[in-house]
């Protein structure tokens, strides 16, 4: 698309807003991009693009993976523009490009790395045309925005340009089947010797072969539809990854990339983290970095503290764990992490959607897609549900088989710590949504106080 008068006016107005925002000490907002797109709907298509654009999309893990990729590139001396401080929709991408361009829009940097919302692919990808795109996975997400996974697959198939080189999750058949005609590479985790089947999850969006519809057979099913499968009827099977985790250890994993084997560090052994680290490595490898360079730089990256944080008080742990509301898969993963964490655990749940809780009655159907059954495990000593929909969470927990005497629920989120009985719990998990990190931190401090008061259990 060529520049036109409307684009030029939109760019200048956006630049003026950047200047004004700087004057008042604000940065990292989506306002400039919002203004530009308001004035010129196809602004992103007309904005001169950096020489290379790398995109990261998918239902879960894209922020974590984008942060890892950016950290590695930064460590290796790359100069690039990204939307880390802004949003992952069109206005965030436009704001980042505007901020990193001359007055007339010429890019100041040759490389861009963007986290891209999968639902908004029609507003971003068809315009910026990423050269390289990582898709972490495709899962059921917010019913309101994302409807169902097939809808997201259709959007990606339609709006990701044919020229974009893809890096896909081979262990997610829905993801692996995207844009069959496009150039692609895969990442995958080999079945691990001590790996135990995860059991049934409520949400299992790929039960049938995407090609012929027959029920799939699973070599390994890690969670939901993530694993290695084959179709007994037509022979379709999970593709082999060019970037493969051969051995997953406690603190690192052995990854084979292009005939070379390197050890990549892991912050913990949770499969979600393994997939995130592997996805980042696969993207960096497809970008052209040598495996040993990736491994060296990844040793200095960590999972963002806004998503998972452990602190210890008197030999007990308090753990902040992101569990995005209205995203049943993200919550199920968090619930399973609680069950699988060593020792006895208690959990405080802040699952309400922050905005819905204020203005409406949240559609809580998603609670019935999330595996609360993990929290009915005997190792979970107490679950405290707090917030506007506390009765609904309580009912769901009862339906999951949780014992009534192990449950507490209350409307006031700030008082959740008061309902906590530390008892024999070795760890207290606080599950929160993206918008309730402040609340989670305040409650974490209250829980730490309780732990200090109760002293060491030993």
């Amino acid at each position: 698309m060529k520049r036109n008068l409307r684009f030029t006016l939109a760019l200048l107005a956006a630049k003026l807003s950047v200047f004004c925002l700087r004057l008042i000490g604000r940065k990292g907002t989506n306002l400039p991009g919002g203004i530009a797109i308001f004035l010129c709907k196809d602004f992103l298509g007309r904005m001169p693009r950096p020489e290379t654009i790398v995109g990261i999309t998918g239902t879960n893990g894209k922020t974590t993976v984008a942060n890892m990729v950016e950290d590695v590139l930064e460590r290796l001396g790359y100069d690039f523009v990204c939307n880390r401080t802004g949003s992952n929709v069109d206005t965030g991408v436009a704001s980042a490009l505007i901020a990193s361009s001359t007055l007339w829009g010429k890019p100041k940097k040759r490389l861009a790395v963007f986290e891209l919302d999968e639902r908004s692919a029609n507003l971003t990808m068809s315009y910026i045309k990423p050269d390289l795109l990582l898709v972490t996975n495709i899962f059921r997400d917010s019913y309101k925005r994302n409807a169902h996974p097939e809808f997201i697959v259709d959007i990606l198939n339609r709006f990701v340009p044919d020229s974009t080189r893809l890096v896909l999750n081979a262990d997610d058949l829905m993801c692996a089947s995207l844009k069959p005609g496009s150039v692609r590479s895969y990442f995958s985790i080999d079945p691990q010797p001590e790996e135990e089947p995860s059991g049934e999850n409520i949400v299992q969006d790929v039960r049938a072969c995407p090609k012929c519809g027959a029920l799939l057979e699973w070599e390994t099913r890690r969670y939901h539809h993530i694993g290695r499968a084959r179709c007994p009827q037509c022979g379709l099977s999970s593709p082999q990854g060019e970037c493969r985790a051969a051995e997953v250890g406690e603190r690192d994993m052995l990854v084979e990339m292009g005939g070379e084997a390197v050890r990549l560090p892991l912050s913990n052994r949770s499969m979600i983290n393994v997939y995130n680290s592997l996805a980042a490595a696969a993207l960096l490898y497809a970008f052209g970095l040598a495996p040993e360079k990736i491994a060296g730089a990844m040793a200095h990256t960590a999972i963002s503290a806004s998503r998972y944080l452990e602190e210890e008080v008197n030999s007990r742990k308090v753990i902040l764990h992101l569990a995005k509301g209205q995203n049943p898969v993200a919550c199920s993963r968090a619930f399973q992490n609680i069950r699988d964490y060593p020792g006895k655990k208690a959990a405080i749940l802040f699952l309400d959607d922050y905005f819905d809780a204020m203005h409406t009655v949240e559609n809580i159907s998603w609670l019935y897609d999330a595996d609360f059954e993990f929290l009915a495990d005997d190792s979970v000593t107490q679950v405290v549900a707090a917030g506007a929909r506390h009765w609904d969470v309580y009912l769901r927990l009862l339906m999951a088989g949780a014992k009534e005497e192990r449950l507490a629920h209350l409307p006031e989120t700030e008082e959740a710590a008061g309902a906590l009985r530390l008892g024999e719990a070795d760890a207290v998990f606080i599950l929160y949504d993206v918008y309730t990190i402040g609340l989670a931190n305040r409650v974490k401090e209250q829980v730490k106080e309780l732990m200090k008061k109760e002293g060491s259990r030993g």
Binding site: F151, R207, L215, V361, Y368, D369
Partner: protein
């Protein structure tokens, strides 16, 4: 003899926690037998009367498969509905039993033609809303999240009357359709545990009016809080 609940195509028709309608009924009727019929299988209702047939929401492509699968059983379904067998259809499963679904390009996907209703898709504008209606003098609350609006034919019997929110379409005074003991609603997700009064009626239609609601105190309290919040925040 124990009751039989048939869930149709649960591997595909279960997008919003909907199978908990069946799980809740199982909790209310501990002796009931649940049969999950996959798309590749033969429906149980074809050969015997079941006490409830349940069909939940599905993707737009799956709608085509489900209609094709059920078309050979159309007469049998018609007969069961006439005889008063209980059915629960939630979300866009309603459309499968309707006359047709109009795509964005104007093409029409013919439904089973068992319910007097047509639907029109708009895939880039998803409708999301909270619904409050009346069911036999009591309030029913639920959620809608859909790509379609539907239009009933003259004389169609609505399921819930609209108190606030959107019915079958933005001007329709009722939500869902009822035909004998067939209950069809666009409300999605776990409609039954979320609405104890409606769950009780469905149990009655299934021939178990005396059945106790499972987790009744918690379900009633959660329902009351939701209705209260609706009146305070929306109504």
């Amino acid at each position: 003899m124990s009751m039989t609940i048939e869930a149709l195509f649960p591997e595909k028709c279960n997008l919003f926690g909907d199978l908990f309608n069946v799980k809740y009924l199982q909790k209310c009727l501990p002796d009931a037998r649940r049969v999950d019929t996959p798309l590749t299988g033969e429906p149980v209702f074809a050969g015997q009367r079941v006490d409830l047939v349940y069909l939940g929401p599905m993707s737009e492509r799956t709608q085509e498969q489900v209609i094709a699968k059920l078309r050979p059983y159309r007469e049998r379904l018609d007969q069961l509905i006439e005889e008063g067998a209980a059915f629960l259809l939630t979300g866009n499963a309603v459309e499968v039993f309707g006359r047709w679904i109009e795509r964005e390009n104007g093409e029409r996907l013919q439904g089973l033609g068992l319910l007097p209703l047509t639907a029109k898709q708009d895939m880039m504008h998803r409708h999301n809303s909270v619904f409050l209606g009346q069911w036999q003098g009591q309030e029913v609350i639920g959620f809608k999240s859909q790509f379609t609006m539907a239009w009933p034919e003259e004389g169609a019997q609505g399921l819930f009357s609209v108190t606030k929110g959107v019915g079958l379409n933005k001007t329709c005074g009722f939500e869902g359709l009822r035909q004998g003991n067939l209950f069809a609603t666009y409300l999605l997700g776990p409609v039954l545990p979320l609405n104890p009064c409606f769950a009780k009626s469905l149990l009655g239609a299934m021939g178990a009016p005396e059945a106790e609601l499972a987790f009744a105190p918690a379900a009633e309290a959660a329902y009351a809080q939701r209705v209260k919040d609706f009146h305070e925040k929306i109504g």
